[in-house]
């Protein structure tokens, strides 16, 4: 079967690729485009390790076909820091020890960014329910939730 040609913008750069009709977005990110920051932990949309932002919305890239990205804008973990400067969430995760093994961290950072883009001052409950699609087995979520709430607070102060 002929491959499908797809034109997208990933992390603000124009990216064209060819994919099989059955390739997931995650397959293409990891195996073709060498964007291995998005992780596959379940392949069924239950863990959020492959979270990316597609046209402003948080999605599991393992549940999306690569062909669907035609004409879309994608943000992945590789585009989160700008010019070598960490995003406030990345910096806070480091300072607050909000990661242990780190495999879920890219997904949590993308999900947290999507949350704060939608809702800059979430309550603890809102953070917990928004991040309920991302599994972390190391931290018990405590330090992750605190880091996200602190970034939201910092944003308020600097606004």
């Amino acid at each position: 079967m002929a491959k499908i040609q797809v034109s997208t913008k990933i992390n603000n750069e124009n990216v064209d690729y060819l994919c099989e009709p059955h390739d997931t977005m995650l397959d293409v990110l990891r195996n073709q485009l060498e964007l291995t920051g998005s992780k596959e932990s379940c392949g069924s949309g239950d863990c959020g390790s492959c979270s990316i932002i597609l046209d402003g919305e948080l999605v599991c890239s393992c549940l999306m076909l690569a062909a669907e990205a035609q004409g879309s804008k994608l943000e992945t973990i590789e585009g989160m820091s700008e010019g070598g400067k960490l995003h406030a969430l990345q910096q806070k995760f480091l300072e607050k020890a909000a990661l242990q093994c780190g495999i879920c961290t890219p997904g949590f950072l993308m999900a947290s960014k999507a949350l704060l883009d939608h809702n800059p001052s979430p309550t603890e409950t809102e953070v917990r329910f928004w991040l309920a699609g991302n599994l972390c087995r190391c931290t018990g979520y405590d330090k992750i939730v605190k880091a996200v709430l602190e970034v939201a607070d910092d944003m308020k102060e600097s606004a």
Binding site: G37, C42, D46, F93, L94, Q100, C104, L131, R137, C138
Partner: protein, 745 residues
């Protein structure tokens, strides 16, 4: 920062590997690729128990793109009559676990593997392999595996001289149990049951192996020990250890589950056969079905106490699932269950039971959570019967320095009593409960471990420091080692880099497991630093022309030790490094030792739950873990260990379980129905770090990673009882089960 006031031990520094991890650049094993790489896939048994009459791989080999097909013939055989032990594993079982030989013993048991140009072709080829099975009766649960007419998994395993699925036993005895119970005013005896649960690491197993034309193999894989990977791959492929270089990728969680190999030997043989680098990635379904879990169990606990609350006798009998091969963690159950208490008469006994499930792997304090679950629940009932506060009951019987434990040792300085006192005084314990809420407490113990470690500490030419150790860093150990090195050398934390060496670049180091990594690596790093400081003093002595003894090392510089030593301006690490060539050459030292003196860890947990009386849902409202951590080198990551262990305990107690169907297949192989706690299931998890330094460690370190999973099962069970007034004696306390208990069925 002013170096003179630096004190790095106990500081929450940013971890050395952090920036790579928050930007997605850290290399986990499945992120690795090589030029010319091809893909492997594993054929797994569709039956829980069957004889393999024949395997025909011809059609698979003929498929376009297939490069090699292997079966058990390609893996080194270890005859059943001769144990070959590596750590807690036996190569007789390991060779049969990575590739079934004459029988498949569980649904998902590997029996062939294919290497092909794409993953899809490798998978398709697996479907073309023709296997003729003779299906055998199977046993999944302990009750079925130990009944008299049970199907036998291994004919050569005997118990009471008869073929049996009981593969081993272990017991601890102290005093006279009958005499003890005779003195008791109250005796409580209960039966408990727990289900198998998976470690739940989010990174599935994977590896990339390249065997070069000269036969030397390089392995990139995610494991809890690159030296374990090297040794097991060597055993199972016959390649000498010197010709295998195992490179530890960043590891995406292990919790004990990555202390054995599954894929590395297969990828090595496939790479040998094809002359190409081979990558294999296990999917989530196979990871759940054919790796991990820890044992399900049944146990009987009997405890007797006098009316003033003194425990006079305790007895525990445990049956633990081993999975398809011997080796369940009975030691943790029988050894840890009574360890927090000073009990004059005790007897614990464990049975290692094989059945047609996946071989179990270590999981955080292996066996100890199962051991503590029943004991800590029965203690709760004793406290209630005697109308004593459950923490007071534990205080009355707490082991102290000098207590002879039921499992053997006499305790040195330890902080169990301190955890009980901290719990009693904690605002959580005094806070009010709401409607349908209950509060439970429980304690726990883990042995902790020492073992072999190696470190190399080198001073760079510009006077900074690179430390290499041999233990994969799962939870922030590099950050702690950087703190210790900076403290010992008296320099800023930012000047220390910490790396994990591979098997060719650092000396033998045992697994990341048993809560041993910081205990052991801090010891070898400390010894390396001592040698380096001596070298630095020698260099300064040479420059100044005075005796080495007349020099002290303080705050990152060499100084004359007193007025008599002479009047010299201090020489900094950078200045001494700059003069290294002229004063004797490179500055650096390695140290390797079998570390000893790991002392046990104790914890006490307080848990509040709220039970939905209509739906049976148990929600954890408040949780506090209090633990003697010896010395917290990096408090945030110590807290992280406590919080993570407690979250896993909440999952084990409330929602996680392996569910097998009537065909002997695991039914819940995905995260949707193998339900680990998510963010919205949990409250903030409070911690209290008690620091009673380990007297046998230079920084006072005790292992902290495993104890946190020991108390939660009972703490949560006891809380549920307080909330609904009825007890559950089995886990998980899932909504249908809790509803049944509420309704009295």
């Amino acid at each position: 920062m002013n170096e003179i006031s630096n004190k790095w031990i106990g500081k929450n520094t940013v971890r050395p590997d952090g920036a790579e991890k928050v930007t997605g650049r850290a290399q986990y094993s499945s992120d690795t690729t090589m030029p010319g790489m091809i893909w492997g896939h594993v054929l797994r048994s569709p039956h829980p128990h069957a004889k393999i009459k024949s395997i025909n791989t011809k059609k698979a080999e003929a498929l376009d793109g297939v490069k090699a097909v292997i079966t058990s013939k390609d893996i080194v055989d270890f005859p059943l009559d001769k144990p070959v032990i590596l750590g807690i594993q036996d190569m007789r079982w390991m060779c049969r676990n990575v590739m079934a030989r004459d029988k498949v013993l569980f649904h998902g048991h590997p029996l062939a593997a294919v290497a092909a140009t794409t993953e899809a072709i490798a998978e398709e080829a697996c479907n073309l392999i023709e296997v003729d099975y003779e299906i055998l009766p199977w046993a999944i649960d302990i009750e079925d595996a130990i009944k008299p007419d049970a199907p036998i998994l291994h004919d050569h395993i005997k118990f009471n001289d008869k073929p049996s699925n009981i593969a081993g036993t272990l017991e601890h005895k102290k005093g006279d149990i009958e005499e003890g119970f005779a003195k008791a005013d109250v005796i409580i005896e209960r039966d408990f049951k727990t289900e198998a649960v998976h470690q739940g690491y989010l990174e599935t197993h994977s590896c990339l192996v390249s065997v070069a034309a000269d036969g030397r193999a390089t392995i990139w894989s995610s494991s809890q020990g690159q030296f374990m990977v090297r040794a097991m791959t060597s055993f199972l492929t016959g390649i000498p250890q010197s010709n295998i270089r195992a490179i530890p990728a960043e590891i995406g969680g292990g919790f004990g589950g990555k202390t054995i190999v599954y894929l590395e030997p297969l990828a090595t043989v496939l790479s040998q056969k094809t002359g190409r680098p081979v990558k294999i990635v296990m999917n989530r379904e196979d990871t759940m079905r054919a790796s991990g879990p820890t044992s399900g169990s049944k146990s009987k606990i009997k405890i007797g106490a006098t009316k003033d609350g003194k425990i006079v006798a305790a007895q525990g009998t445990y049956y633990l699932q081993a999975g398809a091969f011997p080796g369940s963690p009975i030691r943790g159950a029988v050894g840890c269950s009574l360890a927090p208490y000073d009990i004059p008469n005790a007897h614990t006994f464990g049975y290692d039971v094989v059945s047609n499930r996946c071989k179990v792997a270590a999981y955080r304090a292996p066996g100890a959570p199962i051991g503590a679950y029943g004991v800590e629940c029965v203690l709760d009932e004793i406290a209630e019967a005697l109308k004593i506060c459950p923490l007071e009951l534990r205080k009355l019987n707490a082991a102290k320095e000098g207590t002879k434990a039921v499992h053997g040792p006499t305790y040195p300085t330890m902080g169990y009593m301190e955890t009980l006192e901290a719990a009693m005084n904690h605002p959580h314990y005094k806070s009010q409960l709401g409607k349908h809420q209950g509060r439970g407490v429980a304690s726990g113990f883990w042995f902790n471990a020492g073992g072999e470690s190696s470190a190399q500490l080198n001073i760079t030419e510009d006077g900074n420091v690179v430390v290499t150790t041999g233990h994969p860093d799962i939870g922030g150990s590099r950050a702690s080692i950087a703190n210790i090195t900076a403290e010992l050398l008296g320099i800023h934390h930012d000047r220390v880099s910490v790396l994990i060496g591979d098997t060719a670049t650092i000396g033998y180091s045992n697994l990341t497991g048993g809560s041993r990594v910081l205990f052991a690596s801090a010891m070898v790093v400390t010894e390396s630093a001592k040698i380096v400081i001596k070298q630095l003093k020698q260099r300064a002595a040479k420059i100044w022309g005075i005796d080495e003894e007349a020099i002290e090392w303080e705050n990152g510089e060499a100084r004359p030790a007193g007025d008599n030593a002479g009047n010299f301006d201090p020489l900094s690490l950078a200045e001494l490094a700059g003069k290294a060539t002229a004063t004797g050459g490179p500055i650096g030292a390695g140290y390797q030792v079998n570390t000893e003196g790991a002392e046990g860890g104790f914890a006490t947990h307080i848990c509040d739950v709220e039970v939905d009386m209509d739906l049976g849902i148990v929600r954890v409202k408040k949780y506090t873990s209090i633990q003697d951590v010896g010395k917290a080198i990096h408090p945030d990551y110590v807290e992280g260990q406590l919080q993570g262990g407690c979250a896993q305990g909440i999952g084990w107690a409330l929602s996680e379980e392996y569910i097998y169907n009537k065909q002997g297949h695991l039914d819940n192989t995905g995260f949707l129905d193998y339900r680990m706690p998510v963010c919205s299931d949990l409250p903030m998890l409070d911690t209290v770090l008690i620091e009673v330094p380990n007297p046998k460690h230079p920084q006072g370190v005790r292992g902290v990673g495993e104890v946190p999973l020991v108390p939660p099962l009972a703490a949560i069970s006891n809380a549920v009882y307080q909330a609904i007034g009825k007890r559950s004696y089995s886990l998980p306390m899932s909504p249908p089960k809790v509803l049944k208990i509420i309704e009295g069925n």
